[in-house]
Each structure stands twice: as structure tokens, then as C-alpha cells.
């Protein structure tokens, strides 16, 4: 069995809870858990989008990962396969597995204070993947999914997927997989054989290989019988005919020997079934009919159950979309416990986007943020006595907090100490400051310098703005002031300058060498301001980063800048080449914008790089660290 399943194009499929528990998985090849872990960290927590993927998939090592989330259950479904393969059916697999799994085990998943669920999902999954691979003509697995007469009752018993209103569901089941022109009926209760000459799906009585310590096999066939009535009850105009054809075909005789007495019971439920058919069902049926049919293979028992569940799930989806405006929906909005749909969220989300834009968050950032919040809310239930608006507000707050929280906090003093604790004559700690013209690079550099001097470090300032006249003089003034201010405290500061016109990267390199020779602790490098869309000047940053090898590259951005912030941050972050990016932002002039601190969000959103300092005034001590609670409060006010 193992060799056969190993031929799947997938490497593994995992169902993980957001709390980090692997509920179910199928492994076709060994995949290191770190692959999935880094996917969760990068994509789901840090919300990084790999360039070129459009957020639709994730690549790590030689693997590609695709996923889908079920927010209402806190589940993530992850498919892992080799990047070399072009698999067209992964999306459908994820989608259908999600529907199946949540329909089968939804109740269990809602139980509090437990981590495990009783789940025997292997057969369902196998059936699905076999079907999809078969249809795509992909790597066909010639073994039938391990369904056997012995297995079925067990499944029924433990999974109990279809509580009382079975007739309805099963009728649906029967209808859906019937291809429009098919001569096959979906109603064959147990293992079926293909009508095609290929005969690939010979009925196998192989007992299922239970992946996770299955219990012993029970021998009752009762449940197979129970399932069947509805299959036969397919007497709608559309599919009833097919059924008869199938009966005539005589495909019903089974070598599995399950005695199935469905016709009688089926007849009795026909009417109810038809009456209960909703419009939605009808539409879904067509949909599923067309997708699940290939005409040549007879669908198997499990396949039909699977299809039934899937279809029920789509029905539910369709019907829940309609209840949004009913009186009860209105009530739910007040009392809570309403399942959120896209339609419910639309107005609240639009209002939130507007609100964020007013706070000077760049449009692009605001839209992406709200749509990611929206995606995370769809399917969730509102809490007791919480309106949609309040729910949205809480979610946006959490999203803002998450964006602003750095993955690693920066303790500059500790970092410098650690670096300087090395052998004597080690390289100084190098910080370089970049940014567009006039945002306050030199001012903020001086503020950092002042802070370092207070902590008794020896600081060398390197004037690498060899472009704008007056830049060197400006730094000279700062250096003189700082010297006066810090003399009493015991700090040492010096300016390293080589005039104008020379290559900035070379000066930076020389400055670091000089700093090392003279025993400076820190070298602060000021660079020329440049427009982020000036390709010539931007490209020189790459050489600069190579030559100066800064420990930290900080970009100064103005709090006042609006929409431009996203492009600025992006272009600077990408300008250093070779995997080097920015290490942090300094947002200047924060004292001038009041509560419109949206630039914080825009810049961090664009790059995933944290804000390390805020400039809050004209004095040397007006440098602050970001307080996330403060920022979120301002943004939501």
C-alpha cells in the first residue's frame, strides 16, 4: 500500500489548527516539519508575500505549499508538493477537503479544552485525491482507495457524518455525481467497478490501512444498507432516468457481498426528498455534476458519501448567504453569534478603510489590511452582544498591532555592547542612515549620536553626503554641538569628512577603517538623500552596502508623507541587493501629525520591517521608541 500511495504527486497534506496542533496528516514522502512551520511564520503570522506569488502559494526549499483556511474552525489545510510539478487540482483538493473535514468533524472541533478529535479521515481523503488525480490525468494511482465492506461500517460508526436527515443528503449525493450523459448511476452502494475496459478500479477488498492506530474492524454491513435508500430515491426528472438505466445495466451486483436492501426504503422517502430540495441544491447539483463526472469510472461508495457531504456544505454556504438580511440576522447582529459573510462585512470594511485613510495610512496599505482582516473574519461567529462593527474594530486593532510588533526587538545598546565585547581592535558597530531628501536624516543621526554619547560610547560620524552642498557643514555643526553637550558625560565624538564629489561608498569604507583603528565604538554614516525613483542614485546604494557593511541600515521616513510612503519603503528596502535590506525605520516629525500616524503602518506594511525610533521634535533628546499600544490607540481613535 505504501508504495502505491507514494506515487501521489503530493508530498504531504496537513490539517493544522491555528493553535498549532496537527489534527490529521497524510504523508507520501518525508517532509520536514520546519517547512510547514516556516510557512506559518512567514505567511500566516508575518503576512509576508513572496514576490511573484501573489500570495497564492509559498515556496520553501524545493517545495511549494498551497493552503486554505477555515476561520470558523480555526483550521488550516496545507498541501505540500514538489515545485517542479504543475498540479492544477490542488485548489480544488484543498477546497473539497476543507468542506469534507469541517462537515465531518465540525462538532468535535468546537469542543473546548481538548486538542484531539476522533477522526478517521484517511479514506475520505484518499477517495478525493484519487478522483482528482484521475480527472486531471495526472499520476494515476491504480489502486482503488481502500474502501471495503469491512471498512464502511466502521467509518459510519466513528465518523457519524450524516445525522438523521439522511434522505435529503443522500438524495443530493445521488444526484450530484451523475454525469449528464452517463450511463452509470452514482447509486451503487459499495465498491464499484469501472465500466470502461481499462478496469483499473477493480474492487479491492483490501482492509483499510488505518494510519493512526485504527481500532479493530467490525463486520456489520448495516450502515451500507442505511445509506442506500436515498441513493435510489433519485426520482427527479433530471436524474431519475439515469437511475433506471443504471438498474438496467445491472451494475448493482457486488462481489463484496453486502446485502443492500435499499429500494423499498428509498421509495418511501422520495417525496420528502423532493420537497426538501431547495433552489440552491439544484444549482449545486449541476455544478457538482459537471465537475465530478468523467463518465468512465464508476464512483465508489465513499465517493458518493464524500460528494454528498460536499454538496451539503455548498448548500449551507449558499443558504447562509441568504440569511444575512433576514430579521433573525438583524437580531443576531445585536445579540452576537452571527456567522459573518462577505456581504455582512462589506460596509464595515469600507468604513474602516476610509478611517485608516484619514489617519494617513496609504490607500494600498489600508485596502490590503482590511481585506486580510475581512478574509480572516469570514465564517467566524460574532461574540455575544458584539455587533459586526465592534467585531471588525477588534480585528483591525489586532491586525495593526501585529503589523507593528517586530519579530525581534531591537536593543541598540545591548547590540553594540555585544559587538564591542569581542577582542580588542574589533570592527566598530556601523549604522547608516538613508532616506529621501529633506526627511531629517542628519537630524535623526545626531539624535542617535546624542543617545549613544550619553551612554559613554565613542562615536565617529561619517559624512557621506558628498552630493548636496552644505551637507557636510551641517554635520559639522551637529558634531560640535554634541561634543559640547557630551563632554561632561564622557562621550567622544568626531566627524570624518572628505569634502564633496567623491564616491560615498569609498568614504564610508575608509571611515569604518579609521574608526576601527582609532578604537571608536560606533560609526554613524550619513548618506545623501535621494528620490526613491531615481534609479541611478538608488543603484549606488548597493555598492555602498557592500563597502561599508553596516550592522544596521535605518531609513528615515517623514510622518507627513502620504501615499508615497509605501513606494519609498519598498524601493529603499530593495536597493541594497544580495539579500540585504533595511533593518528599521525612523519616522521623523511625529510631533507634527497629531493622531495621523498612518505612515507607521504604511511603511511597515510595505516591507515588514519594524519602526525602531520616532523623531518627536527639534532637540537632541527628542528620540523615542515606538509604543505599539499608543500607536494603535491613535490609529483607532
Amino acid at each position: 500500500m505504501a508504495e502505491e500511495t507514494a506515487r501521489s504527486a503530493l508530498d504531504s497534506f496537513e490539517i493544522v489548527t491555528t493553535s498549532g496542533i496537527l489534527l490529521w496528516s497524510k504523508k507520501y514522502a518525508p517532509v520536514n516539519p520546519s517547512i510547514v512551520n516556516s510557512f506559518i511564520s512567514d505567511v500566516l503570522i508575518e503576512e509576508r508575500v513572496q514576490p511573484g506569488t501573489d500570495g497564492k502559494y509559498y515556496k520553501k526549499d524545493s517545495y511549494t505549499l498551497k493552503w486554505v483556511a477555515a476561520n470558523d474552525f480555526g483550521l488550516i489545510f496545507i498541501a505540500v508538493y514538489q515545485s517542479l510539478l504543475q498540479l492544477t487540482w490542488i485548489d480544488e483538493l484543498l477546497d473539497t477537503v476543507k468542506k469534507l473535514f469541517t462537515s465531518l468533524y465540525g462538532e468535535q472541533l468546537k469542543r473546548p479544552h481538548t486538542s484531539t478529535i476522533e477522526c478517521h479521515f484517511d479514506n475520505y481523503f484518499d477517495s478525493r485525491i484519487a478522483e482528482l488525480e484521475r480527472r486531471s490525468g495526472g499520476p494515476a494511482r491504480f489502486t482503488a482507495p481502500p474502501v471495503s465492506a469491512e471498512q464502511t461500517p466502521e467509518l459510519e460508526k466513528w465518523d457519524a457524518p450524516l445525522p438523521p436527515p439522511i434522505p435529503g443528503i443522500l438524495r443530493a449525493k445521488a444526484g450530484s455525481p451523475a454525469p449528464p450523459t452517463s450511463h452509470l448511476s452514482p447509486a451503487i452502494p459499495d465498491v464499484l467497478r469501472p465500466k470502461s475496459p481499462s478496469g483499473l478500479l477493480t474492487a479491492t477488498k483490501r482492509p483499510s490501512r488505518g494510519a493512526r492506530g485504527r481500532r479493530g474492524v467490525s463486520s456489520a454491513h448495516a450502515s451500507s444498507g442505511e445509506e442506500s435508500p436515498a441513493r435510489n430515491s433519485n426520482n427527479t426528472k433530471k436524474s431519475g432516468k439515469k437511475l433506471r438505466i443504471w438498474d438496467a445495466d445491472g451494475n448493482a451486483d457486488e462481489d463484496d457481498g453486502a446485502v443492500l436492501d435499499y429500494s423499498a426504503r428509498g421509495a418511501s422517502t422520495d417525496d420528502e426528498v423532493d420537497r426538501s430540495r431547495s433552489k440552491a441544491t439544484y444549482i449545486d447539483q449541476k455544478e457538482w455534476g459537471s465537475t465530478t463526472s468523467r463518465g468512465e469510472f464508476v464512483l465508489k461508495d465513499l465517493d458518493m458519501e464524500v460528494n454528498a457531504i460536499l454538496r451539503q456544505a455548498s448548500e449551507k454556504e449558499a443558504s447562509s448567504a441568504n440569511t444575512g438580511y433576514s430579521a433573525f440576522g438583524f437580531l443576531r447582529n445585536i445579540v452576537g453569534g452571527k456567522t459573518l459573510t462577505k456581504a455582512d462585512l462589506e460596509t464595515a470594511m469600507a468604513a474602516m478603510t476610509e478611517h485608516l485613510s484619514r489617519k494617513n495610512v496609504a490607500r494600498e496599505a489600508a485596502l490590503t489590511l482590511t481585506s486580510s482582516v475581512e478574509a480572516s473574519l469570514i465564517g467566524q461567529k460574532t461574540a455575544s452582544f458584539q455587533s459586526i462593527e465592534a467585531t471588525v474594530k477588534t480585528a483591525v486593532e489586532a491586525a495593526l498591532r501585529k503589523i507593528l510588533t517586530p519579530t525581534n526587538s531591537l536593543d541598540l545598546l545591548r547590540e553594540i555592547q555585544t559587538k564591542r565585547a569581542g577582542p580588542h581592535g574589533a570592527r566598530p558597530y556601523v549604522i547608516s542612515i538613508v532616506g529621501v531628501n529633506g526627511v531629517g536624516k542628519s537630524t535623526n543621526l545626531s539624535k542617535i549620536c546624542f543617545f549613544l554619547l550619553q551612554n559613554k560610547f565613542r562615536v565617529l560620524i561619517a559624512a557621506c553626503d558628498t552630493f548636496r552642498s552644505g551637507a557636510v557643514e551641517q554635520l559639522r555643526v551637529h558634531a560640535r554641538n554634541l561634543k559640547e553637550l557630551s563632554q561632561r558625560e564622557g562621550g567622544v565624538v568626531e566627524l570624518y569628512e572628505k569634502g564633496y564629489g567623491k564616491d560615498a561608498a569609498n568614504i564610508a569604507k575608509d571611515a569604518v577603517a579609521y574608526g576601527q583603528a582609532e578604537g571608536f565604538d560606533v560609526v554613524l554614516i550619513d548618506t545623501a538623500g535621494r528620490r526613491h525613483n531615481d534609479t541611478r542614485l538608488m543603484s549606488s546604494l548597493e555598492k555602498f552596502a557592500k563597502m561599508a557593511e553596516p550592522d544596521k541600515i535605518l531609513m528615515v521616513g517623514e510622518a507627513l508623507v502620504g501615499t508615497d510612503s509605501v513606494a519609498q519603503a519598498r524601493n529603499f528596502n530593495g536597493a541594497f541587493g544580495g539579500g540585504r535590506g533595511l533593518d528599521g525605520f525612523i519616522i521623523s516629525k511625529c510631533d507634527t501629525v497629531g493622531d495621523m500616524v498612518g505612515t507607521l503602518i504604511s511603511m511597515v506594511f510595505a516591507t515588514g520591517i519594524p519602526v525602531v525610533f520616532l523623531g518627536t521634535g527639534q532637540n537632541y533628546q527628542d528620540l523615542r521608541t515606538l509604543n505599539i499600544a499608543w500607536a494603535v490607540k491613535l490609529l483607532m481613535s
Binding site: 496528516s25 511564520s41 503570522i45 501585529k402 545598546l413
Partner: protein
């Protein structure tokens, strides 16, 4: 002519009856609301009151990949389900699980005889797992001060590849505990267990070594924190004194010293893989109950 009297009488009663059977729209709506809302309120009431009967909770914190979720599920499955624990992946949301330890381990049982029937019983409690990812730590930090939390378990990987990162998180937790202890005033001490997990791995350091490294790191850290750049909410005037972790001045930071500020710290090594936490964590939990 006796009719008029009853006739005079009847209109009011008649209209009363009529109105009773032909309610106006607002009345109808109100009635419908009452009918619908009563069960809802009842449900909420029952639901909330059940949540209110809280079990004592122990919080699991620590850097990502330390083994918090594994430890919790291992603890649960040994005590509850008896099945092998599920595998784990990076957590994004907190999760609480109901666990139990034999009552004989609980602190109050010290003086009972071993044959006491109550010793056969189990003490139930909740383990609350939190994500260790840097961006999601506030989920844990906001919980630390909660009154339902009986103790905090800081789970770390004994290989200690990132001393600074680990110490930083531990520092935050210690500071939060210290804060809540000082708010609570004189009460039982806040308890923290530093669980050095994965001791089975060959790169693992012994717990005593880990303690020393962390103490050294925190010593340096609290100095640099005290001198660090002010928070944007500080106006730079008045009380700019930053919070200082532990008692006393600059000198070496020691976990023992935290007792003076109402935080009891214990360090233990162990491994989920070798199923060692059942006893070790169990004993500690018992001491807290």
C-alpha cells in the same frame, strides 16, 4: 330595558378582549422579541456562568519552538486520553486544555495519609498554551497578570541557540509578573517555572548552566533597558525612572532575588520526548494548587 346597563359595561370589556386577541403591531413585535430573546439570554446566562467556574490555570509561555504545545498535549494525552500526543506546528492562537494530576501531588495533601480516599482523586486544572512568535507575544503578556493564572511556565529549548532572544522574552515575563505582584500587594507569590525542555537532544545544556546564562544576560539587559531610549508615551519629564527588574541596584541579577518582589522562580530540566514533564511539571503544579 335592562340591556343598557350591560351594554354600557360591555364596551370596555369587549375592547379589552378585542385588543387582547388583536394586538397592535408594536405589541406583537415586542412579544415576539421577548419570546425570541428569552432563550437567548438564558443561553448566554448559562453559558457564562459555566465559564465562570474557572479551573486554576497555568500559562505556558516561551520562545517559538521551545515545545510548549508539545508539552501541553503530552500532558493532556497522558492524563486524559491515554493516546499518543499529536504532532505540533507553529502556534498562532492560544489554546487551553484540561489536565489533571493525582491529588497526592497537590500542596494541600501533604499531611494526609496515603490511604486517604481523597488521595486517589485527581486535581484538575487548565494549561493555557500561547504562541511564541515575536509578533504574537502580547497574547501571553496580557494573560500573565490575570488573576486566574496560578503559575507561569516558561518553556525553552535547552540547546539555547539564542540566549539573547530567550532572555528578552523571559525579561518581559518577569517584569509583567513583578508588576502584577506589586499591584496585588501582599498575597501569595507569583510563581514561575523555567522549564528547560528538550534535554534529550545532545546539544542540550544542563539546567544549571542555562540558569547562569540567562541570569547573566538579564543582568546586562536590565542595565541597557534602564538607559535605553524613552518610550514615545513618556514625555521626558518628571518620573523618567524606568522599571527595574528585581530588587537592589546594578549588580548581578539572580532569579532568587525575585522573591523579594513577590515572584518565585524555579528552574527545571526535562524532555517531552522522554515523558519527563508529567512528574516534574506535575509536582510543580501540585505545589501551586
Amino acid at each position: 330595558m335592562e340591556d343598557p346597563a350591560p351594554l354600557l359595561d360591555s364596551p370596555p370589556s369587549h375592547s379589552f378582549m378585542t385588543s387582547l386577541f388583536n394586538p397592535s403591531l408594536p405589541v406583537l413585535v415586542a412579544a415576539v422579541f421577548v419570546i425570541f430573546l428569552t432563550p437567548l439570554f438564558l443561553h448566554l446566562f448559562v453559558f457564562n456562568s459555566r465559564a465562570a467556574t474557572n479551573l486554576p490555570t497555568f500559562l505556558l509561555v516561551g520562545p517559538a519552538g521551545g515545545g510548549k504545545t508539545s508539552l501541553m498535549t503530552a500532558f493532556e494525552s497522558e492524563s486524559e486520553t491515554g493516546k499518543p500526543p499529536p504532532d505540533t506546528r507553529t502556534s498562532q492562537t492560544p489554546l487551553s486544555l484540561e489536565c489533571s494530576i493525582p491529588a497526592s501531588l497537590a500542596g494541600t495533601s501533604k499531611y494526609r495519609s496515603g490511604n486517604d480516599p481523597s488521595m486517589k482523586a485527581f486535581k484538575r486544572f487548565l494549561l493555557l498554551d500561547t504562541p511564541g512568535h515575536g509578533k504574537l507575544r502580547h497574547l501571553a503578556l496580557t494573560q500573565v497578570a490575570s488573576p486566574v493564572i496560578r503559575g507561569v511556565v516558561f518553556v525553552l529549548d535547552s540547546s539555547l541557540t539564542d540566549v539573547r532572544g530567550t532572555a528578552e522574552y523571559l525579561y518581559e515575563i518577569l517584569l509583567a509578573l513583578q508588576r502584577s505582584a506589586s499591584v496585588a500587594g501582599t498575597g501569595p507569590p507569583k510563581r514561575l517555572l523555567i522549564a528547560c525542555n528538550k534535554s534529550d537532544v545532545f546539544t542540550a545544556l544542563p539546567a544549571s548552566k542555562i540558569q547562569k546564562l540567562l541570569e547573566e544576560e538579564i543582568t546586562k539587559m536590565r542595565v541597557s533597558r534602564a538607559k535605553g531610549i524613552l518610550d514615545v508615551e513618556d514625555d521626558g519629564e518628571g518620573d523618567t525612572e524606568k522599571e527595574w527588574l528585581g530588587e537592589g541596584g546594578e549588580g548581578l541579577f539572580e532569579f532568587k532575588g525575585m522573591e523579594e518582589v513577590g515572584v518565585e522562580v524555579e528552574v527545571k530540566g526535562g524532555s517531552v520526548e522522554r515523558k519527563e514533564w508529567k512528574d516534574r511539571l506535575g509536582a510543580w503544579v501540585g505545589g501551586c494548587l
